[in-house]
């Protein structure tokens, strides 16, 4: 993704507002935040069904109220290690527009913290160098207290994976 496109995503998420309402959660000791508006539900862990042959970061599906939805582990997209589940582990169900189609996705998290607001003033786009993770998967970093909260670019994470394999889809 180009620098310009990343800027655009950065501007889009703030939408001209000075504050962003988010849900924060932990993954491997880092704090992540996703827009509260895309969050559908927070679930306890459910029985998972492994999908042989799928990409590692969406390797299983769950039954979410009668719908079969993918369960994603964005840790793996960021190149972090998968960890054991704990008593605090939760699934955050989000709804994303992928190809103009609302898609439900479950996100595996270590712990869900709170719904809070992040000020735009404290945020900055990810630096192009000096990052352990792919910069295009991060929308912005928000400084709070002594730490940085990572706002992941969910569209980039879920659609870049899709584009690569898009040709395999059967045209209707």
């Amino acid at each position: 993704m180009s620098e310009a496109a990343r800027k655009l995503d950065y501007e889009t998420i703030w939408g001209g507002e000075e504050e962003l309402s988010v849900l924060t959660f932990n993954l491997n000791g880092e704090t992540f935040a996703i827009e509260a508006i895309v969050v559908q539900e927070i679930l306890d862990l459910l029985p998972e069904t492994h999908v042989p042959g799928s990409k590692s970061f969406v390797s299983s599906v769950i039954n979410f109220r009668g719908k079969v939805i993918p369960l994603a582990d964005i840790r793996l997209a960021f190149g972090m290690d998968a960890t054991e589940t704990t008593i605090d582990s939760r699934i955050v169900v989000i709804e994303l527009d992928l190809d103009d189609e609302a898609t439900l996705i479950g996100l595996r998290t270590d712990k869900v913290n709170e719904v809070t607001t992040l000020p735009k003033l404290a945020s900055e786009p990810p630096p192009s160098v000096g990052m352990r993770w792919r910069a295009d998967y991060i929308n912005c970093l928000v400084k709070r207290g002594g730490e940085f909260i990572i706002v992941p670019n969910l569209h980039a994470i879920f659609s870049s994976k899709r584009d690569r394999t898009g040709a395999a889809q059967v045209p209707n």
């Binding site: 492994h50 189609e101 996705i105």
Partner: protein, 667 residues
Amino acid sequence: MSNPDPISVFRTEAAELLEQIESGLLDLTRSLDDRDQIDAVFRGLHTLKGSGAMFGFDALAAFTHHCETAFDRVRKGDVPATHELVSAVLSAQDHMRALLETPNGDHDAMSTSLLDNLHRAVNGAGSPAPVAVAATAAAPVKEDAGGMREWRIRFRLPANAMANGTNPLGLLDEMRDLGDCKIVADISQVPDLATLEPRDMHLGWDVALKTDRPRADIEDVFIFVMDDMELEIAEIAGEKPAAAPKPVETPAAKAVVVAEREAPAIQAANDSKQNKSAENVRVPAERLDEMMDRVGELVIAQSRLTQLAGTAADLGLRSVSEEIERLSGELRDTMMVLRMMPVASLFSRFRRLVHDLSRETGKEIELITEGETTEVDKTVIDRLADPLVHLVRNSIDHGLEKPEERLAAGKEAKGQVILSAHQTGGEVIITIKDDGRGINRERVRAKAESSGIIQPGATLTDQDLLQLIFQPGFSTAQAVTNLSGRGVGMDVVKKTVEALRGTIDIVSKPGEGSTVSLRIPLTLAIIEGLLVRVGQGCYVIPLSAVEECLELSLEDDLRSRGRSFISLRDSLVPFLRLRELFRTGTEPDQHQKVVVISTGSERVGLVVDQIIGDHQTVIKSMSKLHHDVVTFSGATILGDGSVALILDVTHLIAVGQHQEAQLRAAG
């Protein structure tokens, strides 16, 4: 959703009306004097005009009005229905579609030329006078009041009438005094401006008069001019025009009785039709899907309840749980039926297609449809429409010969295309059969060789050769016609059918014709499957593809380390170990089973750890994020709420064949 846009509601309704009108017209081409169909077409046009005007589709309403007027006259027996008229209205009906799609587009030229056609058709039938609009005409007016009768009066004054001092307006006024009347001027005999003689009388009139006065009173209006004018006075409602320029006293009493007896009968028929249509409720498809989801969840919750009740000692709980089990099962069955539609709705559009193609190609074609009442899921019907159009076009364009060729080959000049549907088990089989020349093997081979699909001189079985036409980019038509031969065809057809979990087969005898059969599951929403266990996971194999199950004996297992084949009644069947394919990392069960699956001629065995049993289940599609996983066509939710994946049989067979080929290559 709760507040649908009225315009779009109208569009849907209008589309349905147009379909009704079309099917009525096509029926008429077969039996021109079918009163029911004439009435049906008229009613359709009438409703379309009315609601069109109501929703602001003025161009549509105005245009439809002319067609309605024409049909009104047919209906009343003024003009006979002819093939010309039906064709004219058919093409007019296409134009109505255009008016419906783009109400603001520029359609004037088209409208005018179509209306000319229409008028010619009506005139050609030997009746006087197409009508220039004046009044909003012609819902059939049924008379209920005692002495009220309706008359139709047509009159035309001699050319010198005005010179003789006759004032036609006075005549019209006198008629208005008799009762409620609608007057329409007949301008058909008005000459061009260049030859128009302004002092002559060119107009005629057509008057619908409702009055309680006797016929004689109407004749009195014309008493001073009657001698050299043309005058027709006829009672509407059944009786033919008396064509009498002179007063005749007879028809009175008897005619009235007949007319009155007829009218309520028609009324009753109309009523019953309207009642029938009122029984249908239009529901958006997504609401049905939502309900289907809820029912699916209910079934799952219910099976958990059954489990709990089974372990509890409470008799009351058990009986309630059984009651709920029965109810939810019934609810699910009802739900399934809701989505089913008869294939008639799919087949009906082909009559039009064949009608048009017959004209375009100059071939005489008879379309026979069978099994229209077979019911299939609506989604299947929607998705099948395009492939079927393609197949029917192919049959007509490539298959059927021209009449002279057919006669030379000793066949009837009229070619036949038979479109039939019937249900076997959980599948519907749709066949398209023609009695044309059949598929030309040499041409298929030549084409396949020239486009590099097969090696020159490759040996192929007949079936394999025929299958070549499903290859992408294949088309044998020497000339690209409007109908087919663009090479975008059969491979897309095959893909669509396979996406519906169906199969396509083709049988063709040179000189005798071809038959294409599609086997499609009745519904996409539910699947009969065989539930198997591989490692820790449960998987569903579509039961329609399962041929047989057998045990993989230890020696077969060991012997097949190098080559994965089992011999099954003297033929070798390659097999796949799903445990290895899915990388479960578990040890094989002691008694592994082989499930032999097939599509048509290919067979593959799947080695599983355990066969759990058959399982009827609601299919859930996989999300976009898993579209790259081709091994699975969907997922389903088991009784305990966990998810089981449904295997994609076609894909697995391809993997099996690939493996087989590799083994062969390795020798």
